[in-house]
Amino acid sequence: MAFFRRVLNIFRPERLEREIYDELEFHREMRLRRLQERGLSANEAEAETRRRMGNLSVMKEEMRDARVVEWLASSLQDLRHGLVLLRRDPGVSALIVLVLALGIGGNAAVFTLLKAAFLDRLPFRDAERLVTIIENDGWIPTVSEFLEIRKHTRTLEGMAFAEHRDMQLSGTGEPTRVFAARVTASFFPLLGVNAAMGRTFLEEENQPGRLPVVILSHAFWRSRMGSDPGVIGRTLRLDGQPAVVVGVLPPNFHFDYPTLDAPEPVDLYAPYPVESSLAFERAANGQGVPVQVLGRMRTGVPLEQVQSDLWDTALVLARENRSPFPGHPHDPAMFGFTVTTLRDAIVGDQRSLLWLLLGGVGVLLLIACANTAQLLLARSLRRGREIAVRAALGASRLRLIRQFLLEGMVLACGGGVAGLLLAGWMTHVLVRLLPVRSPLLASAHLDTRAVGFTLAISMISAIVFAIIPALKGSRWTPAPSLSTHFTTSEGNRWRHAMIAIEAALSVFLLCGAALVAQNLWKLISAPLGFNPEHVLAMRLQLPFGKVEQPDPRAGVALQQYVDKIEAIPGIESAATVTGPPLRPARGGGPVQLVGVADPGTMSWSHQITPDYFRTLGIPLLAGRTFRLSDAGPKLTLAIVNEEFARHFGLGPNVVGKQIDDPEGPITIVGLVGTVRTRGLETNPFPEYYYSAQQLSWPNVYLVVRSALPPGPLLRQVRAAIESVNPDQAVFGVQTMNELVADSVVEPRFDVYLIGVFALLAVGMAAAGMYSVISFLVSQRTGEIAIRMALGASRGAIIKTVLGATSLWVVAGLAGGLYLGLAASKTIRSLTDTEAVGSAAMYAAVALFFLAVTLVAAYLPARRASRLDPAVALRCE
């Protein structure tokens, strides 16, 4: 049991020690005896033996080193020694652990998110075989086309369609709006999900005209149905129609990814009415309804094969279905489908956000390591005498280096454990702060892989930050190190290099932050084209008709609401619109003017009630707005925006021109200012407005201008609507200002995110600079005192103290600006930034950084310049 005995030795270092002693003692005695036998005197023999055996302590150290168990035991000993030293200045140690915890915790949190996005299993059966399919020319495909694909394809084993929409739930208390998904019967089997209660949909329930059925999400069943165990068979009123509950989904089932067009959690599922008559002609007219298309690849079929199969299918479809409008953007000859794996589709453009986060925390960790290296370097050099003594007593350089590395590991482990505790919380906070809801990232959790990753980066960072202090600190020269006047300029170059690196990294982050901030500024300072003050917006959906079709009854019903609301005292005006500013328009297409030779321009259309322009403060430039009398079953009137007129090379005299329409010409009666309807970042689009009295969709936004505070205003508006129709739900209430703020939520998030990273980085760099300059000053106290005694001015002293450091800082600054410039393209593409960094912006970044540097350098430099030479020299 030799091995066992050796392991025991770790815990009994004194045993090994005694054995070594005994062995050498025996040797000494033998040598002594033999020498005396050869005739040497006792003294001579003693001297000769000592000469031959040399430095015993070095030999013993080497013998100990030869032992693996001893290696471990001495590591333990070094560790204990390290812990004692770390406890000796708890402030610095705590600071280091804190900084590392931030750096490591941030990385662990981002790793957890990346893991959720790319590694963790999706909660669906054989999720790696699931794909989404989109039409890649950007026009909206219909279910019928995908039914054709389903017929033709040999690479997909199943397909399902889903469409998300608002529905109105009534009959159970106050009418409420619910978020619903309409899906084909194949949807649940495709994802491998069974109902927790009841059943999922049947194939025939997708046929239109059937008695509507509905499946509830678990959350909806719990919160709205009071977890009623007898809910199956109950009837709800959905959009004014009775619908029978046939199933409740399991609690862990969610398929509500914003990247797949589901901005909110889905409350309930209804069958998608598949009308096969709704075929190509409607799609070709641009009246297709966007659906999410899911497919399941056959086992063993690679994605590329599915892709090429779908291209072939598209060709066949294009040949079989001649377009009524050849060359038109909706020509089926332009068919083409792109297949994406479900995971890629779900992650979507959150990918760039994750990379941005990773870059940020990575840079922060580097700075944290540089800072820790600084502090350890300073400490390792302060310990010069201890090191010299240990080296003289036989510690090898390797052993000393190991000592420093072990201390680093202890710090890194502390940082890692604290970081891990932080990481869980940070992950949670990051997901909460994300500009878009992300169920995929919300499912992120710490697991063994995350813990392993955290430990690994802790160890790697320990090596990164401890290696230079270890190499520098373990080097010693006996005489000066042991003398009492021990000062060293050893490691100053490294210290400065570290400062330069920190400066470069933080300036780099500052550049990124400035870039996205400039972009945000550009967006919010762009003219809106309307006045968002004192306007409340909300959504409503008339409880009748089909959402995807205009309904002649809609205009009348909406006007009734508006009339009631405008009668409330304190309300200036109210109107409805199908697509208010910064929300997508509901319709549009190529428009041609009668008698104008122009290929036509893509324009967006809105349906409004008469007071719309007044309510939003959009200026009327020529002609008139709509009147209540602009009613009728046919579109005859339109109002266009400035951009529309500009496109046709017409100014105010666009009024009176006619839009060419298959159902007869539409006369332009007014010209209004342009509004950024498609978001702040896009240029104004040609747009035209119809009177809601002539055409309207049943789902609209209601906008109300009033000086009343939003709370009471909303109550009165609700009451007014209820007095007309008690079944009408109102939802999505926001002030227009909130809506504007919402439209820049992502650029704003980028600014906050990179800004926080940059400020943390600058803070750490400043702390690093402060500690370096303080160290340099304390190192050179004697020299400074002598200079002052010889008459050097304060300015000269400050110059001496800061001279070398400022050079390095400027070098770092230049490096950071270079990095910032070089990476600006990447940052812009990751953040969707249009703005290009201006020279002024980079100058501002440089100035800001220099100002922070000056503040950090000021205190220690001032201390140096205020030194009392007499006191300082006496202390020497």
């Binding site: 062995e23 025996f26 031959r52 040399g54 030999m59 030869a66």
Partner: protein, 111 residues
């Protein structure tokens, strides 16, 4: 005859120790040192500074095994004995060394 310098010997100390232990009997450190000096006719003077760390290293590597036993003078001594792994190591190192020495001799004679 000049003594071989310590650093030249260092790399081959393992070989010498293994060779001596390969004769079969177990020996303590002092005896090993003495035997090396004897056999090399005092050309190799083994410093204790390198012998004992080398012995401990080889013990750790499993080439030799050590155990405590009584010595001639009724003192406790640590005895070293070669293992099978040690013999394999010896064979290898011996071959290498002889080849190198052979090559060296040829070069010195011909050049």
């Amino acid at each position: 005859m000049a003594k071989i310098r310590k650093d030249q010997l260092l790399g081959k100390l393992d070989l010498l120790v293994l060779r001596i232990l390969a004769c079969g009997e177990s020996m303590h450190g002092y005896a090993i040192a003495e035997r090396i000096e004897q056999l090399s006719e005092n050309v190799f003077q083994v410093g204790e500074g390198s012998l004992y760390p080398a012995l401990h290293r080889m013990d750790e590597s499993g080439w030799i095994r050590s155990e405590w036993g009584p010595s001639d003078h009724n003192r406790r001594a640590r005895y070293y004995r070669i293992t099978a792994a040690g013999r394999r190591q010896l064979e290898e190192e011996e071959g290498e060394w002889l080849r190198a020495a052979d090559a060296m001799r040829r070069v010195l004679r011909l050049a």
